[in-house]
Symmetry: C2
Subunit: 356 residues, 2 copies
């Protein structure tokens, strides 16, 4: 068996080994059924149990009670950029903190919405989370991207808003507790903290379902999926199955609060290593630094390729920054074990010493 590397890819991202091992067994046969997880009817008893238990576990981990609906959708966060304003109304306030909020704003504008940018950090290259928000009374909703994978910034906590707060939590869902009292809708592509690419989680306050307008195509209506328990049509069975295994793994780790403490410690250790050497420079302002995506640069020109080659040779993968900004990035989602961060810190120290 091949040795597992430490994979710092921003997404799709590393998954817990226990989860992968269990999924592996289920491919040829679910228990003693004689048919695997890819092959069973999405309306049969085996998948029904998987689907419903994934949903129940996620609701519990998110701390969401009976006034919430949890949906498994397809199309990624990118489809939510249009589904959110299509369903909730497009006259919305958006906070602009990077590439993903930019795309979300563009989709709301495409619908003809009266879109207002309530705050932006574009003037400083998206290196921070804005603190002052210019919110409009009566906006359809307020939209924030809770963690920005490209620039490595993260909201220290979610803002309080009068209009329903919509949060793109694709890259930090279940990495720390969230105060749901502040939230109207959360959406998240699964491929960072939740599981494989191919399923999108939407957590929506039931009262917001009343906003879905008549005439919207059936698949784009939140109500369609809510009424049918996310099985209006064939759901992405395998992706939901793995998300359910990840939810169970989170429980086994002590839940979201325990993971949040571990994530905080991982991030602090990594930022400390970066701050300790003049060879490295973090790209986000300290007060806005992400606990999920640690972005940094090498301050001396021409060393990044060597850094990446040396990392790969040590089994440290996926450290290249996003193609739109360059630099380096270590994504340390829930499933990255502390040992992986320790190995990266050792390498950062060695590399700095070698180039002192």
């Amino acid at each position: 068996m091949t040795q597992r590397a430490y994979n710092f890819s921003a997404g799709p991202a590393t998954l817990p080994l226990e989860v992968l091992e269990e999924a592996r067994e289920a491919l040829l046969s679910l228990g003693d059924l004689g048919a695997g997880i890819l092959e069973v009817s999405h309306r049969g008893p085996e998948y029904t149990e998987i689907h419903e238990s994934a949903r129940a576990r996620l609701l519990q981990l998110l701390g969401a009670g009976s006034d919430w609906e949890l949906l498994f959708l397809q199309g990624g966060a990118s489809l939510q950029f249009t589904m959110v304003p299509q369903n909730l109304g497009a006259d919305a306030d958006y906070v602009l903190t990077g590439n993903w909020s930019q795309k979300a704003i563009a989709e709301a504008r495409l619908l003809g919405g009266d879109v207002h940018v309530a705050a932006s950090s574009e003037d400083t290259g998206f290196d921070r989370i804005p603190t002052e928000l210019d919110l409009r009374p009566g906006a359809s909703f307020v939209h924030v991207t809770s963690n920005n994978t490209v620039r490595g910034t993260q909201w220290p906590e979610l803002p309080r808003t009068d209009a329903p707060l919509v949060v793109d939590m694709s890259s930090d869902i279940l990495s720390r507790p969230v105060d749901l009292d502040r939230v109207g809708l959360i959406y998240a592509g699964a491929q960072k903290n939740l599981g494989p690419a191919g399923v999108t989680l939407v957590l929506i306050r039931k009262e917001l379902l009343a906003r879905t307008p008549d005439g919207l195509p059936t698949l784009l209506r939140y109500t369609t999926h809510a009424e049918k328990g996310s099985r209006f049509n064939t759901p992405p069975v395998f992706a939901i199955y793995v998300v359910g295994l990840v939810a169970r793994w989170i429980e086994s780790q002590g839940g979201v609060a325990a993971l949040a403490a571990r994530n905080e410690a991982k991030a602090q250790r990594l930022y400390a290593a970066i701050d300790a050497s003049p060879l490295y420079e973090g790209t986000a302002r300290p007060e806005s630094r992400s606990r999920m995506n640690v972005t940094f640069r090498i301050t001396r020109d021409g060393l990044e390729e060597e850094f990446l080659r040396g990392a790969a040779a040590r089994g440290l993968l996926g450290l290249k920054g996003h193609r739109s900004v360059g630099g380096l990035r270590a994504s340390i989602y829930n499933a990255m074990p502390p040992e992986g961060v320790d190995a990266l810190v050792r390498y950062l120290d060695e590399f700095a010493a070698a180039h002192a």
Copy 2:
């Protein structure tokens, strides 16, 4: 290791054992990478090779040259019910042959299209494929469902039309050669003949891409996905990976023509067993019978549950008819080996003899 059953589920459906075994190995590590297929970047070299080779193999198996674009989308055939008229124009002619065409028609009407039903078999309970089509000159397109999983009917061959022919081929794609000269667009959810649920294949004539209107949400535009090689946003990596393995498996079986011959023989053997006993009755008219979904009833009341129990005891799964029509159904897609059909035929004969 658990014995594999013969799984006649209509979809998600049985997959080739070789495919499942290879996918199994890739979950923990792609080759010696140290990271599995669920965990690698969708823009990295490992996945790029998987993505592009799946695309190339499918184009070749479909017999589609450089005037065609092949897309990997999400949302199932159900999202195509709205994307097709959104992109191609909604003043279209539809042939109504069952539940799925009904849904497709409803979505086109929801968009305000001048939708015309060019033929229907509703008057006889969808037990046949209509032969006379009342097509309008100047229709945006003509839509047919090539195989009807619920009622067990299938077009013997695709009709010739002046307007571009759009074919929902979710349940018979790559089960037989198709004359692409007659076709403008094919779409298919993967979970019957292609792979797992979670990816939808769209094959579109490049000239039709010019029809996509301005202002459509980005993710719903065929042009978005065509321009970005189906990687505008994170694709459903694992589903596409398995579809690529299935495509390679089809090649190893001798290609689509060889599978078509095998499928024809499987279907004939099964229909012959049904026709041989007065205990069984096929529900589709002989000239419209599907080679993929063999639908039948037991003519004596109250025996279906016993039939299903006995089948399960012999490792023959998924034989219950669609919940909307009841009865029995054996889905015998590409991946159902002839031995599975033989086992079912033996059981049909034994059950008939026991109840003679």
